[in-house]
């Protein structure tokens, strides 16, 4: 409180506003008489100022809640859009039974799988994993879907499909992003799996004839890593003749890198053991056994990374 030398106002009182001990603003009151503010009046003003502080803080919290709500709503929409990008019904052919599991760790994720019936005999299957997490990965995942559906219709040899996908992604991805894929064409006439691994986790294969499980560890390089012609020499395509009872397990590293509370990874060996044990079951039961095996190992159903699993079994 002070006296003023003003032609009209003679006294002033200034009261600071604090919210959680942080200074926000001051309220100044003026009066046209000297010593215009009594002790009682200042007490009343203080009460009003305290009320004002609470109102300002409430308003701020309310605005924050509205903005948060809007973000949540946007993420919900993104989640719905991405769920729409996952195939609703999988194509298959007369030889195969296919069962899938896919779950994102956050609202949206970077895992991708899809199928396409190239002809009555030929079925294309892709599983992909975008580097990074969350929304940035989700954008790239949708690009991968666009590229898959554009190229798969051309019925290209696998080698050309991989090279064209790499060219296209080289134009689309930011400098530190890449996508790994496992790409298969299953031919029910020739009874073959033809495949290529572009930096993706090696596919697990069960041979019914040999009653043996192995990883298909062919060479390859993730898409978008080499963004020029040099990439061609890193593409490898292989072929397996399949027979009844054979199984392919395609997956993303969310499974093998799933951790238990002791920080140990589920790992490749456990996945292999599980398939060895469950190879005689049908595709759906194998999928459920692997998903359950992973959850049991982690001790919870909360996953830290996106998880995708496809079981393809020859009838």
């Amino acid at each position: 409180m002070a006296e003023l030398r003003h032609e009209y106002y003679k006294s002033i009182v200034v009261i600071p506003l604090f919210i959680q001990e942080q200074y926000i603003a001051s309220i100044a009151l003026l009066k046209d008489v000297n010593e215009g503010f009594s002790k009682e009046m200042i007490e009343i003003i203080r009460t009003f100022v305290n009320q004002a502080s609470i109102s300002i803080e409430n308003h701020r919290l309310m605005m924050e809640a509205i903005v948060n709500e809007r973000y949540k709503e946007e993420l919900k929409i993104a989640k719905r859009v991405q769920e729409g990008l996952m195939p609703k019904a999988l194509h298959t052919n007369c030889d195969l039974e296919i069962s899938t599991f896919s779950k994102a760790a956050a609202e949206v994720g970077g895992d991708y799988f899809d199928t396409y019936k190239i002809s009555d005999e030929k079925l294309a299957i892709i599983v992909g994993d975008v580097s990074g997490k969350g929304t940035s990965a989700a954008f790239h995942m949708s690009q991968m879907k666009g590229i898959f559906h554009s190229l798969v219709q051309l019925n290209l040899p696998i080698h050309d499909f991989i090279i064209k996908a790499n060219n296209a992604l080289s134009e689309c991805l930011d400098r530190t992003s890449f996508i790994t894929i496992a790409y298969f064409i299953i031919d029910s006439e020739k009874k073959t799996f033809r495949f290529s691994r572009a930096g993706h986790c090696p596919t697990l294969y069960y041979s019914a004839e040999e009653n043996q499980v192995m990883y298909l560890e062919d060479n390859g390089l993730g898409l978008g890593i080499l963004r020029d012609r040099q990439f061609d020499s890193y593409v490898e395509v292989n072929e397996i003749n399949y027979q009844s009872g054979d199984i392919l397990v395609l997956y993303t590293d969310g499974i093998t890198e799933a951790k238990n509370p002791r920080n140990e990874e589920f790992g490749y060996e456990r996945l292999k053991w599980l398939l060895e044990e469950k190879a005689k079951l049908d595709a759906k039961d194998i999928k459920e056994a692997i998903v359950q095996g992973m959850y049991d190992f982690c001790g919870s159903n909360v996953i830290e990374d996106d998880v995708t699993l496809l079981i393809i079994k020859v009838k």
């Binding site: 990074g132 530190t176 890449f178 790994t180 390089l221 890593i225």
Partner: protein, 113 residues
């Protein structure tokens, strides 16, 4: 979390990557390699204490492959645990990056011996 330390000895610049490199901490790795490539031609990345690297972290190493070829920089990664090395191998990065076991081998490699 990741901790990154640097050490310059003669003309060899060493980056120590300690802990876990995930999506959020990969930016620190990116910054330190970016800084190093501006000033030094011989760079070692000591990964003896690197426990985990996510795809985002691998993306950082990947992004310098072309730059380094163009500007005559040699970057050698050494001391990877078997588990972390396997992650590089699956992606195919071991075919493009210089990776070796020990610091001595890495020094020889960076000096072109």
């Amino acid at each position: 979390m990741v901790e990154i330390k640097n050490h310059l000895e003669n003309d060899i610049f060493t980056i120590f990557v300690i802990g876990e490199v995930d999506a959020s901490s990969s930016i620190y790795l990116d910054e330190s390699i970016s800084e190093a490539t501006k000033k030094h031609k011989k760079i070692l990345v000591n990964c003896q204490q690197l426990e985990y690297i996510s795809s985002a972290g691998l993306g950082v190493f990947m992004s310098y492959i072309n730059d380094m070829e163009d500007s005559g920089i040699t970057l050698v990664i050494f001391g990877l645990s078997d588990k972390v090395k396997h992650v590089f191998q699956i992606l195919g990065l071991d075919q493009l990056l210089k990776i070796t076991k020990s610091e001595d081998e890495a020094k020889k490699m960076v000096n072109g011996i």
